[in-house]
């Protein structure tokens, strides 16, 4: 008897099928891809220098010549959106990546070794958690010399108090995982601490780490945006929050320059919403209990 041939669908087809099932992940990834495309194509088409003051006629509404209009200080807003989007991505990825990395390392140390190390790390996380992070960041950003505030310092300010969340998440995951049988088996077979951490536990934690990373990127983008809206960002840079801050300080709506604050706001909504959607989608991926069937 001949068995009918089973055709395994190709990998891209499988991924597309999963996106159809997990709609929030699919839409989120699509929006992020569109934003990345906007930024990359934008860098090819516009002059990044036009995103800085005194490079265009001031206060022009959107037109063919100035597709996104220009602002009070003579920035070309299309260029400002492209550069601002790129800078937001840099802050988000850098701060999110660093926060997640610190969280993974501390979470592992805390859960794996236990004892007083665990007590210190866990205690520090719990005590710092109720402190409103943004306000402490206001103190840090306010203490810096205005000239020292750059995109990089923004990222470091944001990461300074953003490692507690991932630490606690990874810690609790490692705690449950190190009691699993496959870890005991590895230990009995004589695998060392490092072997267990990198060979047994870490690969199983990847979905959680990915979810924590997206969450941290979201938090970092959000925090740097709030700081910039308060006027604590690098004032010369066309960071999205900075543009809104500048527009509000100049009374953009009172003067009828509606395009000035609305464009960075819409860009920011797209970024935050797509990250939130990806986060929800990854939750579903990491937690099969809520995974939907086709």
């Amino acid at each position: 008897m001949e068995l009918p041939e089973v055709r395994q669908p190709s990998r891209p087809a499988l991924i597309l099928r999963y996106f159809r099932r997990n709609k929030s992940l699919g839409i989120g990834v699509a929006v992020i891809a569109a934003l990345v495309a906007f930024t990359l194509i934008g860098f090819l088409l516009v002059d990044p220098q036009a995103a800085y003051p005194l490079s265009a006629p001031t206060r022009k509404p959107p037109s063919w010549q100035h597709p996104f209009g220009t602002d009070f200080f003579g920035r070309e807003l299309l260029a400002a959106m492209v550069v601002g989007m790129w800078q937001t991505a840099v802050i988000g990825l850098l701060a999110g990546g660093l926060g997640t990395f610190i969280g993974v390392v501390l979470g592992f140390i805390s859960a794996y070794f236990g004892g007083w190390i665990d007590a210190i790390i866990k205690g520090a996380c719990q005590i710092l958690t109720p402190v409103p992070v943004l306000l402490i960041q206001v103190v840090v950003a306010g203490s810096l010399d205005k000239r020292d505030v750059t995109i990089l310092t923004m990222a470091f300010i944001v990461v300074m108090l953003a490692w507690m969340g991932p630490t606690l998440v990874i810690r609790s995951q490692v705690l449950t995982m190190k009691e699993r049988q496959f870890v005991s088996v590895a230990k009995l077979s004589g695998v060392g601490d490092m072997g267990i951490i990198f060979g047994e536990i870490l690969p199983n934690l990847l979905p959680f780490i990915a979810a924590a990373f997206v969450g941290q990127v979201f938090a970092a983008v959000f925090a740097s945006f709030y700081l910039a809206v308060l006027g604590l960002g690098p004032l010369r840079e066309p960071l999205l929050g900075n543009i809104i801050w500048a527009a509000q300080s100049q009374g953009a709506f009172f003067n009828g320059w509606w395009w000035w604050p609305i464009e960075p706001a819409v860009a920011m909504i797209l970024i935050l919403a797509s990250l939130a959607l990806v986060n929800m989608g990854l939750d579903e991926l990491a937690n099969p209990r809520v995974r939907r069937t086709e």
Partner: protein
Amino acid sequence: MSVKLILRRLAFLVMVIWAASTITFFIPRMSERNALRERFADLARTGGFAPADLEKIIASYSKQFGLDKPLLQQYFDYMWSVLHLDFGYSLGKYPLTVMQLIEQSLPWTIGLLLVTTVLSFIIGNLMGAIAAWQRAPRWMRAIATPFILLQGVPPVLMGVLLLFFVGFRLKWLPLGGAYSLGTIPSWSWDFIWDSALHQILPALALIFGSAGGWVLSMRGMGVTIQGEDYVNFAEHKGLGGVRIFRDYYLRNALLPQVTGFALALGTVVTSAIVVEGIFGLPGVGSVLSAAIRANDFPVIYGIVLLITIAVATLMVAAEFIYPLLDPRIRSD
């Protein structure tokens, strides 16, 4: 709830406040920036007095503020004054203390926060509960489900959108400020009406900007709760839909949300502050953003510390409320 547990939570609260005030003490002192020098250099530029006097003035002010003492001594003095909620004088509005500035602006912020937080909690949780409730009429779920999308629009951005559509395009409501330019604050009905109109957009921004989070978490909660045996049992007893929804489903789904509420307090308060700054409302937020512009450091640190203390205290207080809501915890 045992006395031991209460004491442990209070000790935790003290630790949080200690950590926050230590951070706000050391970070500014680690920086190169000298607040007094910047302030007076600014004044010298605009007001014009000899730089020779400048050094003398800075020295005497440093003495006045106790900045010439050893660091450890300063730290203990500082902690002592934090205990008394005394944050020193404002550099920008000198005869006023930081606490006086906060006292003037705090009622506005508290009023705005109370109304918006309560409303967004109610609206968000109700919409989330309906979005997850499969027995609800189709039209109700059709209204409730889109509220999930609010998740991606934080209060500040909601504020910008509302300013554009409602204030700028439709011209229904004012574009910012606490009252119309040219009016004089008084207790007349006209003025109260005018300033109430100015509060609507920021309030809506905060309500709908923070409702998204509640919708999402409540929906997740609701999905698990509606499959519970007691909900099915209530249905088999023949209870009406509204009764099941309110007494069996909503009440149980709300419990974890109260914990979530305590955790979200920090974000809620900071959002309100930033929104106030964007709309130019009188409140702690505007005082803070004015202080940031004017490099008025004592005011910045004072506001940050006071809000941190308030948030941490409210969080611990919320934990004490929890046993009142959930009888299962009370017996432990």
